[in-house]
């Protein structure tokens, strides 16, 4: 079901943990739908993401997308971190099964939430960053119709 890269990031997730006094922290998703991601960013004075850690409650894809997202944003400046979209995360993992695409959206949203927290705390505006939805699944449930 999962690609080798997804399995690798699930089995050996990169950057699991917390950052004390992080520059920005974002938590997205909800337990009702079975996935929550929390992203911690350590950002220096030049706006470069020096470190990134995550904690995730969720399925294999949720763990793998979180892990890959931390890898992709590390070392980038906050502006470039916005380029780490769900598509970028998915591509880096060689794809996800269709039912798991929302996990990659959650990873993108988690980065945005952490950046939003950082920007708010430091009075900075990051061009193109909009306030992330706290719950990625809002309004999604009614869409599925059986038969």
């Amino acid at each position: 079901m999962y690609t080798e890269k997804v399995m690798d990031h699930f089995e050996h997730p990169r950057n699991v943990g917390e950052i004390e006094n992080a520059s920005g922290v974002g938590t997205v998703g909800n337990a009702k739908c079975g996935d929550i991601m929390r992203m911690y960013l350590d950002i220096d004075e030049d706006g470069i993401i020096r470190d990134c850690k995550f904690k995730t409650f969720g399925c294999g894809a949720a763990v793998a997308t979180s892990s890959m997202a931390t890898e992709l944003v590390k070392g980038k400046n906050v502006q470039d971190a916005l380029l780490v979209t769900n598509k970028a995360v998915m591509e880096a993992l060689d794809g996800l099964p269709p039912v798991k695409v929302h996990c990659s959206l959650l990873a993108e949203e988690a980065i945005h939430a952490a950046l939003w927290d950082y920007a708010g705390k430091h009075g900075i505006e990051i061009e193109g960053l909009v306030k992330p939805k706290s719950d990625i699944h809002e309004g999604e449930e009614a869409e599925e119709e059986e038969y």
């Binding site: 699930f10 089995e11 997730p13 699991v16 917390e18 938590t27 337990a31 009702k32 739908c33 079975g34 996935d35 929550i36 991601m37 929390r38 904690k55 995730t56 409650f57 969720g58 399925c59 294999g60 894809a61 949720a62 763990v63 039912v99 798991k100 699944h137 999604e140 449930e141 599925e144 059986e146």
Partner: protein, 394 residues
Amino acid sequence: MGKLIYLDNAATTKTAPEVVSEMLPYFTENYGNPSSIYSIGGTAKEAVTKVRERIASSLGAKNNEIYFTGGGSESDNWALIATAQAYEAKGKHIITSKIEHHAILHACSYLEKQGYEITYVDVDENGIVKLDELERAIRPDTVLISVMFANNEIGTIQPIKEIGAIAKARGVLFHTDAVQAYAHVPIDVDEMNIDMLSASGHKFHGPKGIGFLYIRTGIKIRSFIHGGQQERGRRAGTENVTGIVGMGKAVELSFSRMEESAAKQKELRDYLIKRIKEEVPYCRLNGDGVRRLPNNVNYSFQFIEGESLLIMLDMKGICASSGSACTSGSLDPSHVLLSIGLPHEIAHGSLRLTVSEENTIEEMDIVIDAIKEIVDKLRKMSPLYEDFIKKQGK
């Protein structure tokens, strides 16, 4: 990775070697159509008849009350939809429970779209159907009560005899989906007032794609597959002779050793339940402690998600299942776990282990060690656990 440890016997079982060897001659030599006149057709017909007799006697039923089907889901669909149609003149109301298998629930939603009314009776926190609620739900236009014998996820065994008595007293037909229970626990259709019963071969070491529906004599039920005169014209199509023969052998094996097999499974089950409870913090046993299938263990582990747990168990060669949404492809976790009152996040962290008599205590030890290690690893990764620990520290 070492030897495979298979703990998903509620999903399917290993076909017993005796079953396979019993089936083989019906592929290679006795392949004749049971409806044919020549001798190899006759041999096949005889074999089918023998299995029908064996199943009938295992339930205390008559031979002509057993109808072979393509499996549990077909039996459930047939029982519900064809009975509903046949008794339409009496009424269009059916009662079932909230924790049925999807073969029942989705057949019910199909019937709802056809203008039938379905009442879904609640269960208690152990998954036992509320009998007073069930009785109150009966109306003059109620034609059928369908309640599963035992639940596939949490293993809870329903008070079938009591439900049968209620149905009989109120003049309502009673169907039970016994897919998880048949050939595992004793069933007597007369003693329990069961009018229809579904079962499936591959849940007790028989082949897949074969099952049966017991229909009590006198019950009006429409043909489900229209065609030839097989199964007394009620379920047309050339008999799945190899499947029937295989299921027959599995019935023979299961009933000849039901007691000792159940005792062995209970030993493994109770060992798992006890050690997990003692050694894994923040867990909850789902289902009834006593009224429970001999093979079923179902635990929820707080702060973690089931699919992750399953993949990590699989990496260690352990086959299990979960009621997590991610394993079902939808956003909602198991309807059974929600119906017994579990919050969503606890339902997502469920693990079902279903043993067979072939498992060993040594395997259980390996599994318990694996669960402890994996649950610990996933909790260290979980923001819910982080929040919980921080809250406790305050």
